[in-house]
Symmetry: D2
Subunit: 254 residues, 4 copies
Amino acid sequence: MPAPSIDLNCDLGEGFGVWRLGDDEALLDIVTSANVACGFHAGDPQIMSGVVRRAAARGVAVGAQVSYADLRGFGRRDLDVPATELTADVLYQLGALEALARAAGTRVSYVKPHGALYHRITRDPVQAAAVVEALVAFGGLPLLTLPGSVAAGFATDGGLTVIAEAYADRGYTAAGGLVPRSSVGALVTDPGAVVSRVVRMVTEGVVVAVTGELVPVEAASICVHGDTPGAVALAQAVRDGLSSAGVGLATFAA
Amino acid sequence: MPAPSIDLNCDLGEGFGVWRLGDDEALLDIVTSANVACGFHAGDPQIMSGVVRRAAARGVAVGAQVSYADLRGFGRRDLDVPATELTADVLYQLGALEALARAAGTRVSYVKPHGALYHRITRDPVQAAAVVEALVAFGGLPLLTLPGSVAAGFATDGGLTVIAEAYADRGYTAAGGLVPRSSVGALVTDPGAVVSRVVRMVTEGVVVAVTGELVPVEAASICVHGDTPGAVALAQAVRDGLSSAGVGLATFAA
Amino acid sequence: MPAPSIDLNCDLGEGFGVWRLGDDEALLDIVTSANVACGFHAGDPQIMSGVVRRAAARGVAVGAQVSYADLRGFGRRDLDVPATELTADVLYQLGALEALARAAGTRVSYVKPHGALYHRITRDPVQAAAVVEALVAFGGLPLLTLPGSVAAGFATDGGLTVIAEAYADRGYTAAGGLVPRSSVGALVTDPGAVVSRVVRMVTEGVVVAVTGELVPVEAASICVHGDTPGAVALAQAVRDGLSSAGVGLATFAA
Amino acid sequence: MPAPSIDLNCDLGEGFGVWRLGDDEALLDIVTSANVACGFHAGDPQIMSGVVRRAAARGVAVGAQVSYADLRGFGRRDLDVPATELTADVLYQLGALEALARAAGTRVSYVKPHGALYHRITRDPVQAAAVVEALVAFGGLPLLTLPGSVAAGFATDGGLTVIAEAYADRGYTAAGGLVPRSSVGALVTDPGAVVSRVVRMVTEGVVVAVTGELVPVEAASICVHGDTPGAVALAQAVRDGLSSAGVGLATFAA
């Protein structure tokens, strides 16, 4: 039986102009997949270009972190974008990142929507279909999303590969969903607990819910955060913990 | 001897959000090449998507009207963008338009920089080289520019095709350059004069300068404007005049 | 008994950069109150400056058309802006317009929120309170809104003057509300009908609902639209119709 | 003879959306004047509101850091803005900050243009006059600028107070100007040297030029930077050094 392996993904390139968020350089040495901001919630072309070059040099897979056009709100605010507009917005961002990735010797190999769009398409069929339509039109990129989401269903129906994602530091409900950020238990902050949870997710396919139950969790990729205090150390601890547990690290997008 | 033929190009898709500029629909029935705004000076993804779909339906070639990131100034203000940033900006716009064009069943087949960037690279070697670098990295798109410009030289050196452009309604100096917009004779406004000038440019390769001399003018494409009063009628007159003179209309990008 | 008088208001200055929307010049000769866009959904400082100068020259009252920061969506998309952020956004826009108005020899004399924000505060107490807080902090500007709205209640409680607004060309429900734009009867398009409805609103305080009932309507100001085909002619017809009916035109903000 | 006193100014509120630049909180405990970004190169209304509230609570004077509309370039890129547009842009920013300052119980008491605009108006009479026109129209705010600049001349002619500014950590030429950032000696990095230079500027009115000469320097305010590594410690050292030298700290704007 082959050793299990898993992908680690992280949001990167989330600065704009003079501003930066997170330590891209350090995180690129830890993760296997880089979700690169595409200019709509963060990320300008120069920042994008820098991230894809560094990702290419390290063999880290490049994903498009497509989002609503909302720089001021960092793409975290729900936006009622009509379907045809959303499809065009996603295609625009995919193409923009692809051009920069190609120039850097790599390519966009998956899509992970950002912020409010990420959550919206887990439940809104109109916007989910609009995103999937863009991915299909772009040639069929895999979609990184929560397993069981509305978007996952549409993506599968559209012939796309769906990559199930789990979160290293988020609490889970007994139903297998994420504890809302506003609720107690939304975030797991103890590094040791984070690491052991991730190892168990990957090797046993389970996580302990905030209410104590052992619930199944499907994960082809683990999301680590890059913009919180201690983010780099925590990501490194997750990587080291997985290695110690005999889990290999490899992008799903290879 | 085959009948001469020429390309007619026009700036299109130069709206943003609720705003529009020019009659895209009518102009797409007249021109053979559509310079599509890419979101930096005008053009949002939905507008871009609409223009490339209509262009594809009519067999009109799609070009990328790349520009400085300056929505407020419509890309008409000079901007000291460092070379690496400019290359990234151009790649970003090219990729964005390409993705929308591909989804519409067509592709980006040439580049015509817009406004201040267009003029800057006719004389600034740093920015000209930066633009050419993006075009080469994107696969070698032809560049539509003034013959003899600094950008034309760099493009040729970089292995790109240079498409010489002449202006239907602009005055020319005795040296073969454009009369600056702030000077007398910058614009030819009489429709009959515009048409006969264009016909002569294409069939004889000459234009009468503002100072009376007959000067040679190289033109593989004629630019007609879309955002002035009477623009559509003038563009149609140019097209009709060329047909009457036995000149075929065909994109250089075919 | 004095002759009745009414205010006519219209959205103005809704261009951006090179783009324009509506015929500001013509409308300023018709209306008595100008709702000036403040840069968040439309309107840049130069456009704003031009409108307030022309309004000052004609004695037209200047109102602040504050809105969500959403240029791409023209402020028509609902946005979950937290209360403190919204208060700051509104203050920012009020101050910006006030500075330009003062330089033009006039002042901001009322506020009419735009688009999605206008509708949101008719029902959302959090955002309504946030807007009212800004108006109070700015010195107590009158608020132009639908009578009976949540915002009207908060404004009254906060000591602000509430100006009841009615719409010249919108259909009304039997309950006295506006027929939603997506429903049949949302717009009254016959100019004669528009004029006679407005005259009746002002002189009798009633309007015929889309379902035939005669319903009371409170109106201290009538909104005419500036960005639809025939807008100027319709606005002029409304003005002329009111004059013919012996109704004077005067801003509430005098 | 009274003890000398001096003002310390620093750029603050230079974040946008989720992004931050510099430690506003710490710097507000050190400086006597806060140059607050007004949304054009940095600073959104919520950030501006937070800074003016904290400044008001500490009795720190609030100045408007007006700039070109260039978020992507952080206002550091020269922009050919026509005079009437620039005057409107400056008025817009002044009014916006004033509204937020008033709501916080303080007011805008001076103006320090930012970045490219700051430098442009030291030599460009058209833009200098446009900025001064805005300040006069706004009621006559003092202008913080380099002594002897074109803007200083126009401001004096226009009846404005000019506040001469010197830089704590910049090298000076023998002519009394700043060493360009691209040249050797542009920045003084040794904290001890910075402190002793500032003390000498204030108590003796001189600075040692990069070429060794002792040159006179006029300073009613000393600029400390907030966005460099060690900025807070350096600013504190400057403050402490001045106190040790018996120099009082007080805003010119009191």
